[in-house]
Amino acid sequence: MRPARPEESGFTRPVACLLRALLGAVIVALIAIAALLGLAVPALATQQPPHGTSSQPAPPEQPGLPVSGTLRNVDGTLLAGVRVQALDASGRQVAATTSNTSGRWELTVPTEGEYTFRIDRQSLPPGVTVLQGEVVRDVAPGTLSLVVFRFGAQRAGLQTSASATVLRVLVDGIRFGLVIGITGVGLSLIFGTTGLTNFAHGELVTIGAVLAWTLNVAFGLQLIWATLLAIVAGAALGAATDLAIWRPMRRRRAGLIAQLVISIGLALALRYLVLIYFGGRSESFADYTNQVERNYGFISITDKDLATIVISLAVLLGVALLLQRTRIGKAMRAVADNRDLAASSGINVERVVLFVWMLAGALAALGGVLFGLSELGGTVQYEMGFSLLLLMFAGVILGGLGTAYGALLGCLVVGVLVQVSAQVIPVDLKYLGGLAVLIVILVIRPQGLLGSRARIG
């Protein structure tokens, strides 16, 4: 690595500043355009007529068809005494009923056809809000007609106050940021100790999640135990890749770019091996799939999201203690700081690097499960690692490539940024904000928030 060069040749300083400002403006403009387009299109889409009315001629004599459902609030309580109405295509009420003490309601519609089922908001207990109080359902004979109404406050809807929305987005962002951080710390430590930009890190994440899924779904192991086993396997996988590939490469004094390209080849091979084994679809974990949000007064959150935050914080605290207090942690920081000096003061550098790989593999596996559980709605898919990898890079570079604490800070910022931007830009573009920050930070402060200037050459 070269010493820092505070000023490069190339453009003179004012020109460079101007260019940077221009580039920043272009990026901001691009994001704004994307946001505008995203807002405009849904607004147009809602102009459609409400429901197509299929007016089939009804058969003359037919017994009524039963329709039923259970009213369950977001916190899990069953709602009694709520009026449910059934309206036919012309908007005339054909049946009505009231839910019993177990929240169940049942009514009979005269003929088959399309009906609108509606909750009478007046009859709701105080404090209960309806997310979806009207359901259109095609009632046909011979099938069980279940109608589900959804309760609770709409995300970023009109029912909730602005501060509650901000708080929710912030908590979502911190949760996502912590998950990115768990995986990103390993990536940053590998870079710090070996100089390798490991493009195969996303695959460690995917393999961890897929392993936990296999143990959970195919072998029926409870997800917590499955995750613990996946973490052990992740550590083993990390150690195996170091011993089988990277240690021989270092011994042969392979260049860093050669190693980088090898990690890409490895990532490609591993990703599609996972595809062959796992398939291209999203698969769901067996546990913790349908959780309702629990209200804690100031915030409503599902148990698994809360667990994700708590586990991530605990694990990251553990990693920090490991780095600060233990012998191996100090050795890791020493190797990251100056490899030759560490080696000459008696640290077994190869052993430290092996440990870093095990730690990174274990963290990646845990991060994979938490990512699938909290962000992907309890599912696993073969490309999840790659989409996380780019956000990891964004976070790690934002914080300072090669630093552990910087990586954590950067990942938190990226997580919050992704969730905040999802409020403004279309959801299928929400990772865009995280990736754009990567480019912006390189323009403004390439060494990252906590990085040192000497690392970036």
């Binding site: 690595m1 070269r2 490069e8 040749s9 190339g10 453009f11 260019l19 940077r20 580039l23 272009v26 994307a34 387009l37 995203g38 299109v41 849904p42 100089g195 930009t197 490469m249 392979a254 260049g255 860093l256 770019i257 050669a258 980088l260 390209v261 090898i262 890409i264 080849g265 490895l266 990532a267 490609l268 091979a269 591993l270 990703r271 599609y272 091996l273 595809l275 062959i276 790659f386 780019l390 890079f393 964004a394 570079i397 279309p426 299928d428 573009l429 990772y431 865009l432 990736l435 754009a436 990567l438 480019i439 390189l442 323009v443 390439p446 970036i456 050459g457």
Partner: protein
């Protein structure tokens, strides 16, 4: 059981086919970046995307004629190179790698976003921009032309002829440029950037020119391919395609004028033959290879490319024609 004649015919068709042309152009661009100047561009497919989509959007949304669309596509490639180069070219090589791959993914996500459907066609993509290209064809577009068992549809034959002409012109351009003083500075930057700076050369500016030139080859590749297929689908422009182009470049030999083209031809020849072999060997009720599912053959191609890329880089980074001492292997 295995039809070797059809294997060979398909292999030869792939050797000169549209994919080989597309990846040859991508790899020529990467050769300027990585082979001559030592820049790690992992978002070459993003340049192809802006080339193809720039042309398609200019023709369909702004009603420009096709030749103007082609120019728009090329300009889009230049702009992308400038945008990516300004923040990263002063930093270590892996920063450019990360930013380019992220930019390519950003571009793919934007073009496939449902909110952009009116502009870029969303996940459906774009069609119907290149009709005038096919009208120029001297061949009978609907007819099959047979060359000793290797068959091409007339419209594809026309695209292939144009494509190879573009590849030829690109090679001549690269050949002349790398023999010029400009090319020697580029190679010197790859070998020792500080030495070049000490000689008073503006390293940043040379790197930027190389990035723009290679990016334009990528954009031209995207344009040629979009004219061949007559359709643009966003998910075609996914990150692994860049690694295919790298594999092609490294097979042929980085830092050699003909390296990327030979590499791309060999790459698609081998890929086509293994692909067809596996498809035939795993098909039917009593397959020759029973442990691989017929539907997984497409994924196996990626696994093979990944392994080949890693093994080549580890044991023979100079490929077939390159010089080991001329391949940039260490970061700076």
């Amino acid at each position: 059981m295995i039809d070797f004649a059809s294997l060979l015919a398909n292999g030869i068709a792939a050797l000169v086919g549209p994919s080989a042309i597309f990846f040859a152009l991508l790899a020529i661009g990467l050769n300027v970046h990585f082979g001559y100047c030592g820049l790690l561009n992992f978002g070459q497919i993003g340049f192809a995307l802006v080339g193809g989509y720039g042309m398609g959007i200019a023709v369909l949304n702004f009603g420009l004629p096709l030749w103007a669309g082609v120019l728009v596509g090329i300009v889009a490639g230049v702009v992308l190179a400038l945008l990516l180069g300004i923040p990263t070219l002063r930093l270590r090589a892996d920063y450019l790698a990360i930013v380019t791959i992220a930019a390519a993914e950003i571009l793919r996500l934007i073009t496939r976003s449902t909110s952009m459907t009116d502009f870029s066609g969303g996940t459906q993509g774009l069609t119907g921009y290149g009709g005038s290209f096919r009208q120029l064809s001297p061949f009978d577009n609907g007819r099959f032309y047979d060359f000793y068992g290797v068959r091409f549809l007339g419209q594809d034959l026309w695209a292939i002829c144009v494509g190879w002409a573009v590849v030829g012109l690109s090679l001549i351009l690269v050949f002349l440029l790398v023999r010029s003083p400009w090319g020697r500075v580029l190679k010197a930057i790859r070998e020792d950037e500080d030495a070049v700076r000490a000689l008073g050369k503006n390293v940043f500016s040379y790197k930027m020119q190389a990035l723009v030139l290679g990016g334009v080859f990528g954009a031209v590749g995207g344009i040629v391919f979009a004219l061949t297929t007559q359709s643009l689908t966003p998910d075609f422009y996914s990150p692994p395609q860049t690694f295919f182009a790298y594999a092609a470049l490294i097979i042929g030999g980085a830092g050699r004028v003909f390296g990327p083209v030979i590499g791309s031809m060999i790459f698609w020849f081998v890929l086509s033959i293994t692909d067809n072999f596996l498809r035939q060997a795993t098909a039917g009720s009593n397959p020759l290879i029973s442990f691989i599912d017929n539907q997984d053959v497409g994924a196996i191609r990626f696994v093979l490319v990944g392994v080949a890329l890693a093994v080549l880089m580890a044991f023979r980074p100079q490929g077939i024609f390159g010089k080991r001492s001329e391949v940039l292997l260490d970061a700076r």
